[in-house]
C-alpha cells in the first residue's frame, strides 16, 4: 500500500506548478498584450486603494484575471465530475453530462435565447445562468426519477446510464427545435453557447463557480475511498461496509451541482470531463483519491491552455473554446492510448 501511494506523490506539486505557469501565460497573452509590469502596478493600485487604473490595467483586473481563474474552476469542476461518474458507473465512456446535466443546461439556455424576450422574467445578467441551471436541474431530476424501477423502487446504475442517454437526446432535440424556430441572431447565440465561451467571466461568476467547485471537491475527496471499493464491485463494496445507495446519490448530487453551476456560466464544454481522468489513469493509475484531486488541477490546466489558444489562434477574434478542447485534447488522448497498455 505504501508503495502505491508513493508513486502518486510527485504528481500534484508538479501539476500545480504547470497550472500556475499556464495561468500566467493566459493572463499575459491575448488580443491585448499585458506585461508583468501592468499586472504588478494594477495589483499595487488595487491593494493600496488607489484610483485611476489605466485601460490595460483595467483589462487585466476586470477581464483577463477573472477569466483565467474561472477557467481553472470550470476545468476542475468538469474533470472532477468526469472522474466521479466514471468511478460510479465503472465505465470509461462516461462524461459528466451523462446524467442529463449539460443537455438540460443547453436547453435552458436555448429557451432563454429563443423565447426569453416573451417571458416577463429578468434578473439582469444572471438570467441566462439561472435559466441554464434550472434546465440542468430539471433534466437531471427527470433522469433520476425515470430511472427508478417501478417494481423495486431502486435504480440500477445501468438503467440510470440508459435513461441519461435517452433524456440527453430528448433535450438536445429540444435545443434543435428552439434553434430551428429562432431568428438568425438568436440561433447564432444558441450555437455559440453550445460551443462554450469564457468571455463573459467576471468576479461574481468566479466567486459562485469557485465556491461550488471547492466545496464539491472537498466532498468528493471524502468519498474517494468508497469509490475505490466500488471499483472492485458492488457486492464487494457493500461487504466492506459501503452504503451503496447513499454513496450513489451523494456522488451524483456533487457531480450535478458542479457541472450545472459551471455550465450555466460558460456554456457546454465537451471532452474535458471525459479525457482528464483518463489521462491521469494512463499516466499513473486509478486510485480515486489520486484521480479526483489531480483531475481538478489537470482539468484547470487543460481548459486554461484551450482558452489561451482560443484567444490566440485567430487573434483578435476568438474561437469557441469547445472547438479547441476537442482539437487539442483528442490527439494527446489518442497518442497516449496507443502508447500504453491501458486498462480502465
Amino acid at each position: 500500500m505504501k508503495k502505491t501511494s508513493s508513486r502518486y506523490i510527485g504528481v500534484f506539486p508538479l501539476l500545480s506548478i504547470v497550472l500556475l505557469i499556464i495561468v500566467l501565460f493566459s493572463i499575459r497573452y491575448g488580443a491585448v498584450s499585458i506585461t508583468l509590469d501592468d499586472m504588478f502596478s494594477a495589483i499595487q493600485k488595487m491593494t493600496s486603494g488607489e484610483e485611476g487604473l489605466n485601460l490595460t490595467e483595467r483589462i487585466f483586473m476586470e477581464i483577463r484575471l477573472p477569466r483565467a481563474i474561472l477557467c481553472v474552476f470550470v476545468g476542475a469542476s468538469l474533470a472532477v465530475g468526469g472522474a466521479l461518474l466514471q468511478a460510479l458507473f465503472r465505465n470509461p465512456i462516461v462524461e459528466p453530462g451523462l446524467v442529463g446535466t449539460s443537455c438540460g443546461a443547453a436547453f435552458g439556455a436555448a429557451l432563454y435565447f429563443a423565447l426569453g424576450a416573451t417571458f416577463d422574467f429578468n434578473v439582469g445578467e444572471y438570467t441566462l445562468p439561472l435559466a441554464a441551471c434550472l434546465g440542468a436541474i430539471c433534466s437531471t431530476a427527470l433522469v433520476f426519477f425515470l430511472s427508478q424501477s417501478k417494481q423495486t423502487g431502486k435504480s440500477s446504475v445501468v438503467t440510470l446510464l440508459l435513461v441519461g442517454i435517452a433524456i440527453n437526446a430528448l433535450f438536445l432535440s429540444g435545443v434543435g427545435f428552439l434553434s430551428y424556430i429562432a431568428r438568425d441572431p438568436q440561433a447564432r447565440s444558441i450555437i455559440f453557447w453550445n460551443l462554450g465561451t469564457l468571455s463573459g467571466a467576471n468576479w461574481p461568476s468566479v466567486i459562485i463557480v469557485g465556491t461550488s467547485t471547492i466545496i464539491c471537491l472537498l466532498f468528493s475527496l471524502r468519498y474517494a475511498k468508497h469509490l475505490n471499493a466500488l471499483m472492485i464491485g458492488e457486492e464487494e463494496a457493500q461487504f466492506i461496509g459501503v452504503n451503496l445507495k447513499s454513496l450513489k446519490w451523494k456522488t451524483l448530487l456533487i457531480n450535478v451541482v458542479m457541472v450545472a453551476v459551471a455550465t450555466a456560466f460558460v456554456g457546454v464544454i465537451s471532452f474535458v470531463g471525459l479525457i482528464v481522468p483518463h489521462l491521469l489513469r494512463i499516466l499513473k493509475g486509478s486510485d480515486n483519491r489520486f484521480l479526483i484531486l489531480n483531475s481538478a488541477v489537470l482539468g484547470g490546466v487543460l481548459l486554461c491552455l484551450a482558452d489561451l489558444l482560443s484567444r490566440m489562434l485567430l487573434r483578435p477574434a476568438e474561437l469557441p473554446i469547445g472547438i479547441v478542447t476537442s482539437v487539442v485534447g483528442v490527439p494527446i488522448f489518442i497518442i497516449l492510448l496507443q502508447k500504453k497498455n491501458y486498462f480502465f
Partner: protein, 292 residues
C-alpha cells in the same frame, strides 16, 4: 462524429474570413472609431467620413474598400478583447450587437459607445438618419446631397412602378449563415419594402422578417421571379445547383429562367443607395415589360 464535423466546418469558416488578418493601417490616428453596423458604415463611407474608422464588423461589406479594414467579428458574437485591441476611442453601434456580457464589459471599462437616433425603416427615416450622421461628422452638405439623390431616385422608381401593368410575384431567398440554412424573406422585411417599391409583390407573407425555407412555402407561393442573395447563389453555383433547392424547379420562375443574384447588402437595410437598388430591382423583375 457529427460534432467533430460541425467543429471543423465552424473552424474552417471562421479561418476563411481572411478579413480578421487585415493590418491596422491607421495606427497613428488619435481618434479611432469602431463601427459595428452595416447601415452606419455605408452611410459613413458615402459621407466621406471614414477617415478615423479603424475597424468594422464582419457583415459590413459595402463599399468594397471597407474590406481593407480589420474586423472585430460578427455583430452578435463580439469579443471584448477583439474590440479593445483596436484601441477604440468610440464605438458606433445600432443596438443590434451581442452577446450581452460583451456590452456590459465595454460599459464597465468606460469605452464610449454611441447610437444614432432610431428612425422608422422608411425613406424619410433614412433621410433623417443620414442628416443626423452628417451633422455628427460635420458633413451636412454631403448628407443633404445624399438625401436629395435618394429622394430623386425613389421618385423615378415609384414613377416606373406606376407605369407597370404587371405585378410579378418575387421570392427572395437568403442564406442564413448561422445554421447554414436557406431562409425566405417575408413581406415584413426590408427586402419586402424594396420589392414593393420596385412594383413587385412578395411571394411570402409572415409577421417576421424571415422564414425557414421549405418546399411547401416555395411551391405554394409559385413566384414569377426568384432572387438569391450573393453568398447563397455563389454557393449553389449554377442553375442546376439552384434546381436542387427543394421546390424551386417546379416554380414559374425556374421554368422561365428568372432566377437572379442580388447582393445581400443591397437587400437587408436602407441607405443612400436604396433608390438605385430599387431601380436595379425593377430591371430584374420587370424585364418582360421593358422588352415589349
Amino acid at each position: 462524429m457529427k460534432k467533430i464535423i460541425i467543429y471543423t466546418i465552424l473552424a474552417l469558416s471562421v479561418s476563411a474570413c481572411g478579413r480578421f488578418g487585415n493590418e491596422d493601417k491607421k495606427k497613428d490616428h488619435e481618434e479611432r472609431i469602431v463601427v459595428i453596423s452595416k447601415q452606419y458604415n455605408e452611410i459613413i463611407y458615402a459621407l466621406g467620413a471614414e477617415e478615423n474608422v479603424v475597424a468594422v464588423d464582419v457583415s459590413s461589406t459595402y463599399p468594397p474598400e471597407i474590406k481593407e479594414l480589420p474586423t472585430v467579428g460578427y455583430h452578435r458574437a463580439l469579443s471584448t478583447e477583439a474590440i479593445l485591441s483596436m484601441k477604440p476611442t468610440l464605438i458606433l453601434e445600432d443596438d443590434n450587437i451581442g452577446p450581452e456580457h460583451v456590452i456590459t464589459q465595454l460599459k464597465k471599462l468606460k469605452i464610449p459607445m454611441k447610437q444614432f437616433g432610431k428612425y422608422e425603416n422608411t425613406i424619410a427615416g433614412t433621410d433623417s438618419l443620414m442628416r443626423e450622421m452628417g451633422r455628427y461628422f460635420n458633413k451636412e452638405a454631403t448628407a443633404e446631397e445624399l438625401c436629395k439623390k435618394l429622394d430623386s431616385d425613389m421618385k423615378k422608381a415609384l414613377a416606373n412602378t406606376d407605369s407597370y401593368k404587371e405585378k410579378p410575384k418575387v421570392l427572395v431567398i437568403h442564406f442564413g449563415r448561422a445554421s447554414n440554412i436557406y431562409l425566405v424573406m417575408t413581406k415584413n422585411s426590408t427586402a419586402g419594402k424594396l420589392i414593393e417599391w420596385a412594383g413587385g409583390e412578395m411571394a411570402v407573407q409572415g409577421d417576421r422578417g424571415m422564414k425557414q425555407f421549405s418546399p411547401e412555402v416555395v411551391a405554394k407561393s409559385d413566384p414569377d421571379v426568384v432572387l438569391l442573395t450573393d453568398y447563397g447563389y455563389d454557393k449553389l453555383g449554377s442553375m442546376d445547383g439552384i434546381a436542387d433547392l427543394p421546390g424551386v424547379s417546379t416554380t414559374r420562375a425556374f421554368k422561365n429562367e428568372k432566377i437572379y443574384r442580388v447582393e445581400e447588402h443591397d437587400m437587408v437595410y436602407l441607405g443612400p443607395r436604396t433608390g438605385e437598388n430599387v431601380l436595379k430591382l425593377q430591371e430584374l423583375i420587370h424585364q418582360d415589360e421593358k422588352n415589349q
